[in-house]
């Protein structure tokens, strides 16, 4: 594409005849000094394909949401979110919804504390080869398929430690999956906190814990929040690591950490859709709809929270 530079230098007022002699086959400009027909066609075709691709990405998304809503809405009853599932497929999804919320809260507490602390260490203290070893270990863990974690959780926690299907086994398995995301986003956010903040805190003689709590971690809050939200989204949507660790029950989740299975929404979708009874099938569609709505709420909430935390940290 070196040629158009020379051609493009032709004064704007120059008539077609100036260029007439230069224009041969494969010329990059046409008689009027515009890009040649071939170049304009390529440009049009290229952008057309890109626009088409952009549009095509929207098709499956809208189709999925429409398909789920189309199956769930016609027979929707509000009792779906107030009653627990019965063994005949009647009732609703209250126990699954509560179980999913408990799992989310547990992941925020367990994976949140480990992940944030780990991110702090990686950003503030981890140097050299130890740091890169810890970082790559965390990244590799994030890449392990969730079903493999579910298998190990089942073998090690449910059977090995005799916890049976339980909240503790499910939470630990889900935390293995989510800690790397929280640690990474915390680390990245803390690295972006200006060194001057730390030097200022040091000059004021602030203890290190106070510096962390009131200065660096507070400034990194938007990043930490993003990591936590990703973890919440994962605990909302994952099935494979929970099937063999959380088990399933028709009862509302209790307080015991072990020896008590927990119901959750994705289980209902996965198990009920090919049951012979239409009551179960309808519950499956309802669960899918509730999941999609929760994802939507989560995305909206995350935008609000990130906007709020950003404002908060900037005003400081």
């Amino acid at each position: 594409m070196g040629a158009p530079g020379a051609d493009g230098a032709v004064p704007a007022g120059a008539g077609p005849d100036v260029l007439l002699g230069e224009g041969g086959p494969g010329a990059t400009l046409d008689l009027y000094g515009r890009p040649s027909w071939a170049r304009r066609t390529a440009s049009l075709a290229g952008w057309g394909a890109c626009m088409l691709a952009t549009g095509l990405i929207g098709v499956p998304l809208i189709w999925v949401i429409y398909g789920v809503a189309g199956r769930a809405v016609p027979h929707w009853h509000w009792s779906v979110i107030t009653e627990t599932t019965t063994s005949t497929g009647g009732g609703g999804l209250a126990n699954e919804i509560a179980g999913t919320l408990v799992l989310m809260a547990g992941v925020v507490v367990l994976a949140g504390s480990v992940g944030v602390l780990s991110g702090v260490y990686l950003a503030e203290y981890a140097k050299g080869s130890l740091g890169s070893l810890l970082r790559s270990g965390s990244e590799v863990l994030a890449g392990i398929p969730s079903i493999v974690l579910g298998y190990v959780g089942y073998i090690a926690l449910v059977i090995g430690l005799h916890w049976q299907f339980s909240l503790a086994a499910a939470l630990i398995t889900l935390s293995l999956l989510t800690v790397p995301y929280i640690a990474k986003s915390t680390e990245v956010a803390m690295r972006q906190v200006p060194t001057a903040y730390r030097e200022g805190a040091d000059a004021l003689g602030l203890p290190e814990l106070t510096t962390l709590r009131r200065v660096t971690l507070e400034a990194a809050l938007p990043g930490v929040t993003t990591g936590l939200l990703v973890a919440i989204a994962i605990s909302l949507g994952e099935t494979a690591p929970l099937l063999y660790t959380a088990g399933f029950t028709d009862n509302m989740p209790g307080l015991s950490l072990t020896h008590a299975p927990v119901g959750y929404l994705t289980y209902a979708v996965w198990t009920f859709y090919n049951q012979p009874s239409t009551a179960f099938q309808n519950l499956s569609y309802d669960a899918a709809l509730v999941l999609v709505v929760l994802v939507l709420l989560l995305i909206i909430a995350s935008r609000l929270i990130v906007a709020l935390t950003q404002k908060h940290t900037e005003s400081n």
Binding site: C50, I57, L149, P180, E238, A240, I299
Partner: protein, 364 residues
């Protein structure tokens, strides 16, 4: 921070050092610094940072310990056999090479390896062109508002649970494709190598092609978002220079921006591939779950390693010798190794371009 703390003695130290009591106070202060909250913080966070690595080692160790007897008995032929026979789980078990197993238990991984690789390849071939096209349009052509809308779309697509995609695939997409699309495609494809796989029995919408397409939709967010973020890092001056030479905006996009981030784009695609290889629930719902046979064409029923683990683990416990569970551990180990290598390759490629924050997170 640590460095600054080490260099600077406490502010009152010079004055305090004059008298004996002051010296004691200074000593106490410095010992508090050494053993007090400073090291507490360092150790507490250090332990937390060590946990993922320990967990990783533990996971691999548990898998390897569980899988070792199965690996011994299944041998190397495991990787190219096409068979799935749990054996006679009701009869008396036998011992071969010191490994207890039911009579006639015989497993092969080839159909599942083929299923895993083929469905992920279809997903990548489907998702990558769409993702790159959309990323180009959003970064180089469309107004900012369109970019927000696409960002929202990608976030939603990344957030929708795998089982919901599976439900859509089996109830909506599969039937539509097998009724309106697959027969038409199968009837026009010529009987030549490669394209031959598009011919033949088109089935009822459960199978390789449907699984690949659903996977493709699921990996669009990660590929598109990563590519978009990479394209945004192309320096404006370089693009303006190209435009000043007379290039049209399409030529700038295709001949400057794309080559600029090529390695990163390949990395993004491999990141998507890694996601597709490990995806479980959606595939388990739309694959048709065929064991022990390599699918004959692109519409055939199949299974992937991940989908088979999730579907077979429950039943594997009916094998009292534990051999079926051990074989599944071997599959889990195999899957972990495959995705691990893919992820490492992807991250090396992406890091080459994006030295700063890697776009981790599920897609967006």
């Amino acid at each position: 921070m640590a460095l600054a703390a080490r260099q600077a003695p406490p502010a009152q130290a010079p004055a305090a050092r004059a008298g004996g009591r002051g010296r004691l106070a200074w000593l106490r202060a410095s010992s508090r610094r050494l053993t007090g909250e400073r090291s507490f913080l360092r150790y507490a966070t250090g332990v937390a940072a060590l946990l993922p690595l320990l967990a990783l080692v533990g996971i691999v160790a548990i898998l390897a310990a569980k899988a070792w007897p199965a690996m011994k008995l299944n041998g190397a032929g495991f990787f190219w056999r096409s068979v799935w026979d749990p054996g006679n789980t009701y009869g008396a078990p036998v011992k071969t090479d010191g490994v207890l197993h039911p009579v006639g238990a015989h497993y092969g991984a080839l159909p599942l390896i083929v299923g895993t690789l083929a469905s992920s390849a279809i997903a990548v071939l489907f998702a990558v062109p769409l993702s790159i096209g959309a990323a180009l349009a959003v970064v180089e052509k469309l107004p900012r508002r369109a970019s927000h809308v696409l960002g929202m779309f990608l976030e939603l697509l990344a957030g929708i649970p795998s089982v919901v995609f599976g439900l859509w695939g089996i109830l909506t997409l599969g039937p539509v494709l097998s009724r309106d699309v697959y027969p038409a495609v199968a009837s026009i494809m010529p009987d030549v190598p490669v394209l031959r796989f598009f011919r033949g029995d088109t089935g009822y919408g459960e199978g390789l092609m449907t699984a690949g397409l659903v996977l493709g939709v699921m990996i669009i967010p990660i590929v598109a978002a990563t590519t978009r973020d990479l394209l945004r890092q192309v320096p404006v001056l370089t693009k303006e220079g190209a435009a000043a030479l007379g290039m049209s905006d399409w030529e700038v996009a295709s001949k400057v921006s794309i080559p600029w981030v090529r390695a990163g784009m390949i990395g993004a695609s491999v990141l998507g591939l890694a996601r597709a290889l490990g995806e479980t629930m959606a595939v388990a719902m739309v694959s048709g779950s065929l064991l022990g046979t390599v699918p004959a064409n692109l519409y055939g029923k199949m299974g992937t390693i991940a989908s088979t683990i999730v579907q077979q683990l429950d039943g594997a416990f009916s094998d009292g010798t534990g051999f079926a569970v051990r074989t599944l551990a071997e599959f889990a180990l195999l899957l972990a190794v495959i995705t691990l290598l893919t992820n490492i390759a992807a991250r090396l490629l992406v890091r080459k371009v994006a030295a700063t924050a890697l776009p981790v997170g599920r897609g967006v």
